[in-house]
């Protein structure tokens, strides 16, 4: 197999002065230019180091034809910069990428949509912007419209669309792109569940047809399902490259912080969690899992077994109004269960501050076997202050929950329930029906 993408020593440097405090006006530019010699004279030691950062540093990898590669990394790891360079939106500072074949990139759905134009007009415009020819759009027009499910609004300006309709139309156009190499960024994070599944399905079809795909997502289960290979970026460096499964494991491993605590893997250090949302304070410090009988979490939690999760966090100032939430999601990204301190009756604390531990006891974890990821978040005074996706991952393993040796696989959770076979004559309904005329079988 030949390589369709070759990335060599790719680096991208952003000047902080060139991004955040850019010269907004010509006057500032003049003033700064005049000041520059003075500045470099006065503090030449520090300024050089502080004024730039490397969004990407010496990244090397190859993508073979037909491969579906997932790129994983926390916010600011350089994923988007990498895609922007491959898409030719911005230049690298050093190194190069060789691309063989027609490449289309989808860094956002609905790029170039104009609110004043109708759905029909936007299909053409957006298609052209994404690199489709007019004849190509015409030939796929009906398919696009059918996929988007907005037939009756085709001649309405998209500014009157609901956000859902807008996204559906935008994705429908994008989904019908037919390049040899497709670069996709995070676009599945939008739209409702049913439509997301449809899009994942469409992407699956595309990848099966032998096209090369580069895919960035926070949805690690999507990466695991769609991609063959995975690349993990941390701080602009390529930290790992391997199969998608290994890459996700590597990423999660870092998230779990096993290397740091060393012990049984029941502690998850959250202080540098890769899944922490932007602009959140790192107040959630640690998750501590206490499965039954002091077992290791790595061994998995048996269906129906108790699980205790201790959340270590910090309250920066005295307060009595704070909450912790734990969201359990399965690999389809479905929220299976939410545990929240607000659900605890009769909760009433004094004002506290500093390090705290909230203990969540689940007497019986009744999820069907499979892998689950945990989202954890924290509110102070009803304001969300910290939130971490993919904070931890654990496996629920089969057990003899029903005491029959039969293990449940389907569905989402198990529930204690009972079946009994009774003599029909003993039920009250039977007695009642006896009093009525016998039910005749329908004429056939």
């Amino acid at each position: 197999m030949s390589n369709v993408i070759e990335v060599r020593n790719l680096s991208k440097q952003y000047r902080i002065g060139g991004v955040k405090t850019r010269n907004e006006t010509f006057r500032e530019f003049l003033v700064n230019t005049l000041k520059r010699p003075l500045r470099s004279f006065s503090n030449s030691e520090n300024s050089g180091r502080d004024q730039s950062f490397w969004a990407l540093r010496d990244v090397n990898f190859d993508v073979a034809q037909g491969e579906v590669v997932g790129i994983i990394g926390r916010n600011g790891a350089g994923k988007s910069t990498l895609l922007k360079i491959i898409s030719r939106i911005t230049d690298p500072t050093d190194g190069y990428i060789k691309v063989r074949g027609r490449l289309a990139s989808l860094l956002e759905v609905g790029t170039g949509f104009h609110p004043e134009l109708t759905g029909r007009e936007n299909i053409f415009l957006n298609g052209a912007i994404l690199g489709m020819s007019r004849t190509e759009i015409i030939s796929k027009f009906d398919e696009i419209v059918a996929f988007s499910e907005i037939e009756q609004f085709l001649d309405t300006p998209v500014k009157r669309y609901s956000s859902g309709m807008y996204i559906r139309l935008a994705f429908a156009v994008a989904a019908h792109l037919n390049p040899e190499i497709l670069v996709v960024d995070e676009v599945l994070a939008v739209g409702d569940m049913a439509f997301q599944k449809k899009c994942l399905g469409k992407m699956n079809d595309v990848s099966r047809s032998g096209r090369t795909i580069l895919f960035v997502s926070h949805n690690i289960s999507a990466i695991e399902h769609l991609c063959q290979r995975g690349i993990v970026l941390t701080h602009g460096n390529l930290a790992f490259s391997g199969t998608a499964k290994e890459a996700v494991q590597y990423y999660m491993h870092r998230a779990m912080g096993d290397g740091d605590t060393g012990t049984s893997g029941n502690f998850v250090d959250l202080s540098h969690a890769p899944g922490r949302w932007a602009q959140r304070r790192p107040l959630l410090r640690q998750l501590e899992f206490c499965p039954e009988d002091g077992k290791s979490l790595k061994a998995g939690v048996r269906v129906g077994a108790p699980l205790t999760i201790r959340v270590h966090f910090i309250l920066p100032s005295p307060t009595s109004s704070f909450d912790i939430g734990l969201g359990f999601e399965n690999l389809l990204g479905q929220r299976v269960f939410t545990a929240h301190t607000a659900f605890e009756p009769g909760r009433d604390h004094n004002q506290v501050t500093g390090p705290q531990v909230f203990v969540c006891e689940i007497p019986s974890l009744t999820f069907v076997p499979g892998e689950y990821v945990l989202r954890v978040w924290m509110d102070i005074g009803q304001v969300e202050v910290d939130k971490i996706d993919n904070a931890a991952r654990f496996e629920v393993i089969p057990s003899d929950y029903y005491g029959t040796g039969k293990s449940p696989w389907n569905g989402i959770f198990v529930l204690k329930h009972h079946w009994s076979l009774v003599n029909p004559k003993e039920t009250s309904e039977y007695a009642a029906s006896e009093a009525l005329p016998a039910i005749k079988p329908p004429l056939s």
Partner: protein, 273 residues
Amino acid sequence: MATTELVIKPRKGWQPFDFREAFLYRELLAFLIWRDIKIRYRQTLLGGLWSILQPLAGTLIFVLVFNRWAGVHSDGPPYSLFAFAGLAPWTFFSNSVTNSSNSLLASQQLVSRVYFPRIFIPLGTIGALLLDLTISLAVLGCMMIYYHWALSAKVLLLPIFLIGTIMAASGIGFAFSALNVLFRDVKYMVPFLLQMGLFITPVIYPVRYVPSRWQTLFGLNPMSGMVLGFRYCLLGSPVYWPLVLTSLLMCLILFFAGLMLFRRIERLFADVI
């Protein structure tokens, strides 16, 4: 594989213009022009009528203020024909420069999200304005019929001045749109420059009002020669060739200088915009 190999590497300094790529993307340029035309008069009552009303109203004001009250006279044809024939290319030029200067900033989302030849953004806005120019020329035709002013064979030279006007407008538009990404000052400078331009271009007054030793110098303003050329081709007005040729040369220089400046700054767009 028959497909071409693309190498993405740092670009430094002056870049040649990639005509092959522009040709590959030509359909997109057509779509961008079509979009601009489609949205220009959306949700207006008069719609496309505006492209006729604007130069007509301008002409009316010029006739009243300069011809009737200030006593400015044309160089032969009725003043309203004279003013309109000058106003048509000037309006096109002025709108082109205004719209294209702001075009990149208005298309921020496109610039930072998808790749295509960036030059199409200012070029598309100018292309869309060509429709307005065509409409105003049709209106001029009607006015000429009304005034019984005959068209001569000189009209065959019109394409030269049309292309000259487009080149001048594009060159300045390229440069301003690119500079506007770096320095927002351009946004405030453009209306002022255009206002000044109207007075140093013989749109309202005939060129004989300009002292003859200044006339060739006047040609450094590319639109001076273009306005004279338009009048020469359409109305048969007298023309001062040294001025016109200087202007034509300026149109060429501006076009290529603007294009080069655009290509030079282009690689910074996504990072800076």
